[in-house]
């Protein structure tokens, strides 16, 4: 059984996630594969319809039209909503 004090000591704050997340967000997401949380359809992000004439960029599932991703910069903040993305898969460069 895990010692609760030991678990508390091993817990990190989310700053420790910044490095790994920076790897994700510096890749070209247009080649990423996105899986819709609604219908499970998987397709390249670049093949998703984008509605850019709205208060945010709205990316929808090419199969069921559900919102897969929303992204906006405004009010001095970046906002990313991926509630509609079950899985985002990015192939690493050089990993043939």
């Amino acid at each position: 059984m895990t010692d609760p004090d030991d678990a508390a000591q091993r817990r990190l704050d989310a700053n420790a996630a910044a490095g790994p997340l920076a790897e994700l967000f510096t890749v070209d997401l247009t080649v990423a594969m996105a899986t819709c949380a609604g219908c499970g359809n998987t397709a390249p992000l670049a093949a998703h319809p984008l509605y850019a004439h709205a208060p945010a960029l709205v990316v929808r599932c090419p199969n069921c039209a559900a919102v897969v991703l929303r992204f906006a910069s405004g009010g001095c903040r970046l906002r990313l909503d991926m509630t509609g993305t079950r899985l985002l898969t990015v192939s690493l460069a050089g990993a043939a």
């Binding site: 004439h53 709205a54 208060p55 945010a56 929808r60 405004g74 903040r77």
Partner: protein, 201 residues
């Protein structure tokens, strides 16, 4: 040098500069179309309008029944959160007061729901008292699909995202439930005169 100008408070709706909320510009004759998804095309024989949720009895009007409700003409300025404003827009439709006239409810909030899945949330007190309509006519013509036809909500005192296009009903709720843009960091209330664009503004 005088720093107080008396008599300007009542001119907000009369003179151009004073009727423009902070951070907005006058789009003039244009009417930008903003869409977060495909434009729904619901035929009128399949269209209905519902009042549901915390109500004594659900209400439903077919298109033909909706057309027989008391109609009003409305001329208002509208203000989009993307910073354009349009003055003197002319609409016709049914007041939300008429739609809720006989409804018995303990609800304090309302969520407008639309074809295509769009939702927006408002306090019930902001859609009653002659402040909100379900409109099906713009500038004397049937409301086109790109502007929200066959019918859209019109709540001109709040940013235009609250005026849900393709509206199909109102859900009355006890708890406030953030809608499509409200859940994405946009302001829960959206008063253009207080420039409530984003949560925390």
């Amino acid at each position: 040098m005088s720093f107080v100008s008396r008599g300007f408070t009542g001119r907000r709706r009369a003179a151009s500069p004073g009727r423009l909320p902070p951070g907005q510009y006058d789009v003039g004759d244009g009417f930008p179309v903003l869409s977060a998804g495909p434009t729904p095309r619901t035929s009128l024989d399949r269209w209905d309008f519902r009042v549901r949720g915390q109500v004594d009895e659900e209400r439903r009007w077919s298109w033909a029944e909706f057309q027989r409700l008391p109609r009003e003409s409305i001329v208002v300025d509208v203000h989009c959160v993307t910073s354009w404003s349009k003055f003197d827009t002319r609409w016709e439709g049914v007041s939300v007061d008429s739609l809720l006239a006989d409804v018995v409810t303990a609800a304090e909030f309302v969520a407008a729901f639309s074809d295509g899945g769009y939702t927006t949330n408002l306090p019930l007190t902001d859609v009653t008292g002659g402040q909100a309509w379900v409109v099906d006519t713009y500038d004397g013509q049937p409301l086109t699909p790109e502007h929200g036809g066959p019918a859209r909500l019109l709540v001109p005192h709040l940013y235009f995202w609250k005026s849900a296009k393709w509206v199909r009903g109102l859900e009355l709720t006890l708890e406030d439930e953030p809608g499509f843009w409200e859940s994405f960091g946009y302001h829960n209330y959206g008063d253009p005169w207080r420039e409530q664009r984003y949560a925390g503004d």
